[in-house]
Symmetry: C2
Subunit: 317 residues, 2 copies
């Protein structure tokens, strides 16, 4: 094996590229913009060019690098077939093959939520653990499951789809998936904002949330910490419904640890406290002491995980 | 590796012992009674004696057999520590070690629901699949998850505990686990009987179920097939709540197939139909075509799976 691998995380706005040693040290990283135009056809050539450019300028030979791990926003199966990366405008194609042709390097692509889980277990909040479930609280809710033998990819790359676990029989509003009462309706960034607006409408209680033209989860958590009644209720619902979903996941998977990441988790301890108030009530008794921890690698988790998964893949072959 | 392995399934009433080739053929099998007295202290010596006796009588040398796979009714961790096998009267101890000392053979023990999953994927309803989730509908509800790299054992052997997935926010009756609205309260044998009694009390509708002193799931399904109104409602609730739980499990694991087994599943097609009416409503869209199938190995699944897991373990070392 060569000494270095690339970990690349393709987001809707930026692409993060990191050069890693096979020990897990990130020796350099940078970003390029994601050009969505023309159905995302420039994305892979842009990555290939950025890598070539970097390696030329910094005097790396192609033999110094073993390959590229790619984290992408959509399900990827074990052969590299990607589907439903709608944010990038992509159709269905074999991303490993296409990127290998562009770079001449070994490529292995996985879903970005899975990559984040792999990153956190490799060099982040779950470092050294045998297994972990990572919950990514972004606009939606993503899940990554890392087990003793590696990531759980699942049929058609669809394992870990936890945003639509039903947690509220009484919900009357339809989720974008078509069902009602999905955890994403309460505990994603979009869900938190939705619940806040709903409670502000329903209630006459004073709340500083009324002063904002656009509410974000950051304000909700900050105001809850100041004791704002409506914000506290939004955070309580966030914690209750997410806690219920996490209890279910722990009972099924029994991981060593659950890592909470994504933009929403940046509010810190209040996020953990809200979930911890409820999740054990819905967890099988033998697993009630599975700890919850906050993610550590922030938005670099996907880049780290992409590198890690490629290294694992190289070891297999 | 020698030519044969034993697969042993320790139940609360009988212990099933099977002699297998390493290709998966069961060349002979028999049962001995489970003696629960003296805190179950006779169980392992009885198994050891039965194996020795069989091998002596049938002229097998110890070298012909590579080891014993043991399926037991309780969580077993990857080191062989068993806990909570309350039905056998056992405390906490290392079952692999104790059985190895008794027989001089390599021993590997796993939970019986896990063993059943391994059996069905090896030689049963999920034969040839890369992954499967098995749902065992007995007195309670057990789950076994078989992935590409083998069984998902989980922390403290607790993966696959699916009987207490919350599926009904409106439930007022407390489950034996302390929560309310667990799937086991509706879709296990005990749950089906409970719901039947409840509906008979609540309703004045005529039902042949009123003629039975003791209702069993078998009568409920048989009468539902005849169009009995109360029985139909019990079966509908069975399917709705179990379907919801299975949808959640599929969305998290994304297995190739879900196998429905255990005593309750013997009612056959009506069981599948009841679940199929609902489970896709709670399944992530990409996984809605994961098929449900009935188990094939009946009460021999645990014995098969115990042999299979031992063979996998021998290959690792």
């Amino acid at each position: 094996m060569s000494k270095y691998v690339w970990g690349v995380d393709v987001g809707g706005t930026f692409i993060k590229l990191g050069l890693f040693t096979d020990e897990g040290e990130c020796i350099d990283h940078f970003e390029i913009p994601t050009i969505i135009e023309d159905k995302g056809s420039r994305i892979l050539p842009d990555i290939a060019a950025a890598i070539k450019d970097y390696m030329d300028k910094n005097h790396y030979a192609r033999e110094d690098v073993s390959g590229i791990g790619l984290a992408v926003p959509g399900p990827v199966d074990s052969e590299g077939i990607i589907t439903k990366a709608v944010n990038l405008g992509w159709g269905v194609f074999n991303i490993n093959k296409e990127m290998e042709e562009l770079t001449g390097l070994k490529v292995f692509a996985i879903n970005d939520a899975d990559a984040a889980a792999a990153g956190e277990i490799w060099q982040g909040a779950a470092k050294g653990e045998k297994s972990a479930v990572m919950i990514t609280l972004g606009t939606g809710i993503g899940g990554g499951i890392f087990l003793e033998n590696g990531l759980l990819i699942g049929r058609k790359g669809s394992a870990g789809e936890i945003g639509h676990i039903p947690v509220n029989d009484g919900e009357t509003v339809v989720c974008k998936c078509g069902n009602k009462g999905c955890v994403e309706q309460y505990s994603s960034a979009r869900g938190i904002i939705r619940v806040a607006k709903l409670l502000l409408e329903e209630s006459n209680k004073p709340s500083k949330l009324r002063d904002y033209e656009e509410i974000t989860p950051r304000e909700v958590f900050a105001l809850a910490e100041e004791g704002d009644a409506i914000a506290l209720e939004v955070v309580d619902r966030f914690g209750y419904y997410l806690g219920k979903a996490i209890g279910i996941i722990i009972s099924i998977i029994a991981p060593e640890v659950v890592v909470i990441g994504g933009g929403v988790s940046k509010a810190g301890k209040i996020v953990l406290d809200a979930i911890e108030k409820y999740y054990k009530d819905y967890t099988f008794h033998a697993s009630r002491d599975v700890p919850l921890v906050l993610a550590k690698l922030d938005n670099r988790a996907g880049m780290y995980g992409a590198a890690k998964i490629l290294l694992d893949e190289l070891k297999k072959n």
